[in-house]
């Protein structure tokens, strides 16, 4: 054997041993889905849940023979929570890796940058994180789909519930970027409609870990409810500091969303009695068969229950597959048309549907509350489900308000 050919076969064999899953997935002619997400930084835990949700969907689909006889392959990239990096990774996924579809983008401002690239390349993009702009003009393109809830829907559902049940004098602390600002706007609007007031609203830079300087004036203002729009790892830092300054005793704390990875990291004592909205919680497996399927597949693979944002990714990968099967083509335009022509689907929590004008997915959400440690059954049982809010297009802005005639 010549040295050169020995090296070539040797390396190939070693690679085969090291990455059998990748090789198998690439064997045949896999359909590639690009998936950028911020695996490093303050949203790292959420990004991990999303990757795992996507992997569960991919393996579930491939185990049943793939789509159109071809396997799915999801390629993950770290966008570092930076719009420029998200754009670059997306461009590489499309141009170098030949991905026909992009799913992902976990921050409102980064998904905009991803969306710019998919629009330019004419590729289907399913966003799996909250944003008001992603499904509205001028950002939404003809191939931009939005699987997640958005601040308007969450805000109208959650803020109304908080105002009616917890109190109407609010203070809002929000991360000073797209998602935080959108939430601040919607929450303020809803509480005023409900006859309440916003005593003050303080922005802080996303990814910040020091909130103490915000707290004295909140204490002094004596709101009934403190709305903490503090996503990702910021949430734990904020809630810890708020508790250490005694705020939890002085007022109710509520949030737009709870996220399972941060409930786990922060622990039940931090989240007990804190209200929020959520798109999915694994306890729904008791009442929804599709949830049971997803939760058991995820548990089998990762030995823990799935989170909420991972479910978006799971559903979006299934939607790409459903679209390909319907269109009988691996082509963004055909898949988009097929999904809009067959808008109803149900992958993990009951019926959802795509609205034709803005390609926004409508779905149920739930109001939840951090459970007391003494009532937890098992180490993941962090939430009491307080109320279901049924899917409704009325919770979102209308097609006209979003710029679609």
């Amino acid at each position: 054997m010549h040295r050169r050919s020995f090296l070539v076969t040797g390396t190939a064999a070693a690679a085969g041993l090291a990455f059998p899953a990748v090789l198998r997935a690439q064997g045949g002619d896999a359909i590639k889905i690009g998936f950028p997400g911020p695996t490093t930084g303050p949203f790292g835990a959420l990004a991990k849940d999303q990757q795992q949700g996507a992997v569960v969907a991919m393996e579930e689909i491939n185990a049943k023979g793939g789509v159109l006889g071809r396997k799915l392959e999801v390629l993950f990239r770290d966008d570092q929570l930076k719009p420029a990096v998200g754009a670059q990774r997306t461009k590489e996924l499309i141009e170098n890796e030949k991905c026909e579809f992009i799913v992902g983008g976990l921050a409102a401002h980064v998904q905009m940058a991803i969306n710019e690239q998919t629009k330019k390349a004419g590729k289907l993009f399913i966003s799996v994180s909250q944003s008001d702009e992603i499904s509205a003009k001028p950002d939404a393109g003809p191939l931009t789909f939005h699987e997640a809830l958005n601040p308007t829907i969450t805000g109208r559902a959650v803020a109304a519930w908080i105002a009616q049940n917890l109190g109407k004098k609010w203070w809002i602390v929000y991360a000073d970027y797209a998602w935080g600002k959108q939430n601040n706007a919607v929450f303020s609007e809803v509480v005023k409609k409900q006859g309440g007031t916003v005593l003050g609203a303080t922005p802080y830079p996303l990814g910040n870990a020091e909130f103490s300087a915000h707290l004295p004036k909140i204490v002094a203002a004596k709101p009934e409810v403190l709305i903490a729009v503090t996503p990702g790892a910021d949430d734990i830092a904020f809630l810890k500091q708020a508790a250490s300054f005694g705020l939890k005793k002085e007022m109710k704390i509520a949030q737009p969303l709870h996220w399972l990875p941060y409930l786990k990291e922060g622990g039940p004592d931090l989240y007990a009695d804190i209200y929020a909205g959520i798109n999915f919680s694994w306890q729904l497996e008791d009442s929804i068969p599709e949830a049971k399927n997803y939760v058991s597949l995820y548990r089998k693979k990762y030995n823990e229950p799935p989170g909420d944002y991972g479910a978006y990714a799971y559903s979006a990968i299934h939607e790409v597959a459903r679209g390909i099967a319907l269109a009988k083509a691996v082509n963004s335009d055909a898949v988009a048309a097929a999904l809009i022509a067959n808008p109803a689907y149900n992958h993990y929590k009951g019926k959802q549907w795509w609205r034709a004008c803005d390609r926004k997915s409508f779905q149920d959400l739930w109001i939840v509350k951090g459970r007391d440690r003494s009532k937890m059954k098992g180490e993941w049982d962090f939430l009491d489900i307080v109320q279901k809010v049924a899917a409704s297009e009325e919770l979102d802005r209308t097609c006209k308000e979003k710029g679609f005639a």
């Binding site: 020091e210 103490s212 500091q241 005694g246």
Partner: protein, 294 residues
């Protein structure tokens, strides 16, 4: 702010004091190292982060925050000794950029290494039960742990100043930062002094890290922004000046805290505005001597 009371303002100043203390601990270490060796240690933020991680695992294994509070900074200090002995030392006598690039590279390596070893997701470190409570200061309720941070910092600063002012080693360190050639001519081994100072400076970063952990959480990127704020403190105080680092650290802490009270959107940028203003009036910083950077 219509409802701004004296009590709120006092609470705000107290909050700023804690922010300042952490900055002082970091800036003192930076300033010591710069003053003696003209090394701009960009890895300081990563050493702060290492202090918090070491602290987390020491608490997890020994169940004692107090032990961790002592041992974690020492571990970071030992790591600092190794960095000085095997990396930074090779670059003395070269331009100021070379150690800067080295330590900048090291900071990136450390962040990636921590992500590889301990994962990309942050950890939560709780204050010890004895310090978990809230204290009534009369004008506000304040977390006991934050008062403790103020206390520890004051004790460490006093000890450090006594060491520098009252001991022979301290005398050599101070002399070495003024005129290294003369100190060498008098027969002192400056290599060992540099090693020691690098160790002390990095240990202080580690201490700041474990102190900050229970307040801000423990995560790989925790040093990235604070190292920039610490450099601002060093520059405002005057490169190499210890009183400058202390005064500027406390000032910047108040700037952040009070800007957050009145105009939260500008809290980040205000730090740099203050730096620019100080440099316009005093180009070498509040307590700095001209010519150190040349």
């Amino acid at each position: 702010m219509a409802d701004l009371t004296l009590a709120t303002l006092a609470a705000q100043v107290f909050t700023g004091l804690v922010l300042g203390m952490i900055l002082v601990l970091l800036a003192i270490g930076l300033s010591l190292i710069f003053g003696l060796m003209t090394v701009v240690n960009f890895a300081h933020g990563s050493l702060y982060m290492l202090g918090a991680y070491f602290g987390f695992f020491l608490v997890a294994y020994t169940k004692s925050f107090w032990l961790a509070l002592v041992v974690a900074p020492m571990l970071v200090g030992v790591f600092g000794l190794l960095v000085e002995r095997f990396l930074v030392r090779r670059l003395y006598g070269r331009s100021i950029d070379d150690p800067l690039l080295l330590t900048f590279g090291l900071s990136l390596v450390l962040v990636e290494a921590v992500r590889l070893v301990w994962g990309k997701i942050g950890l939560t470190l709780d204050p010890p039960p004895a310090l978990a409570g809230v204290v009534n200061l009369g004008f506000t309720y304040f977390p006991l742990y934050r008062l403790f941070v103020i206390g520890v910092t004051v004790v460490v600063l006093v000890a450090l100043l006594l060491f520098l002012e009252k001991t022979n080693v301290g005398l050599i360190i101070r002399a070495g930062s003024r005129d290294p050639v003369m100190v060498r001519a008098l027969g002192f081994d400056l290599g060992r002094v540099w090693l020691l100072v690098f160790g002390i400076g990095t240990a202080l970063a580690g201490l700041a890290g474990i102190l900050a952990g229970p307040m801000r959480g423990v995560y790989a990127e925790m040093g990235v922004t604070i190292v920039i704020e610490s450099f601002v403190v060093v520059v405002v105080g005057g490169m190499g000046s210890l009183p400058g680092a202390i005064v500027a650290g406390l000032v910047i802490g108040q700037v952040v805290s009070l800007t957050t009270l009145f105009a939260p959107k500008f809290a980040e940028i205000m730090v740099f505005i203050v730096m620019a203003l100080v440099l316009l009036v005093r180009p070498s910083g509040l307590f700095g001597e001209a010519g150190l950077m040349e």
